[in-house]
Symmetry: C2
Subunit: 144 residues, 2 copies
Amino acid sequence: MDLFMKCAIEEAEAGLQEGGIPIGSVLVRNGRIVGRGRNRRVQCNDPILHAEIDCLRNAGRIGSYAGCTLYSTLMPCYLCAGAIVQFGIGKVVAGESTNFSGAREFLESHGVEVLDLDLDVCKAMMGTFIEKHPELWYEDIGDL
Amino acid sequence: MDLFMKCAIEEAEAGLQEGGIPIGSVLVRNGRIVGRGRNRRVQCNDPILHAEIDCLRNAGRIGSYAGCTLYSTLMPCYLCAGAIVQFGIGKVVAGESTNFSGAREFLESHGVEVLDLDLDVCKAMMGTFIEKHPELWYEDIGDL
């Protein structure tokens, strides 16, 4: 499997161990990881800490995002897609979009290249979580 | 002036005093302030702490955002507009959109009501800051 997606999955698994929503993310610039993060809504009691946002935060103030690719185990929602578009991140690689279709059209309409790896491991992890904790998942995507 | 916009301006002014980018935000639900925040990129060295994101974070996990209005001294960018759309916040009141046109069309295309107060005090504060610190402003909106 893609090494960077493997790291994003590790982040998601760590989040699950902590009692959180299992979504992980990695920011790559010119072939090097410059940030990684995971959804920490539950762990930090913080509604804006989606995996991609946590990842961008951990990457810090890196200046231009030219040459960056953002990996996420799940297709980004509008919050995270908005960050990607605003910061000029050119490419997104998602683990799956079966459990959540996200904001792919919005990303593409702003010139972001989107690749959906459609990975069974990501689909199973997220699908099981949503089945067990629907209240946390629907809170996370503002669908209450 | 609108009391809630006055509070958002107070947040922006506090940010300026701290050496930060002067943008403030307030979240109102059913006529009551449930969160307030300001851009803290500089203060916290955090690229995702736009004013609206800081405000949503400070509001915490409030459940449904039905009946919420987000005030901001400046028209929200795609990051913040993405949060507004994803969380289902129905209305945005902006202090101005002269210094930054933001993501108004995106918000409106997703059914968010947008009101631009076009306030001189907001335009002057932001315009002066951009003139003095263009590098911080263009970093904040990912335009490097």
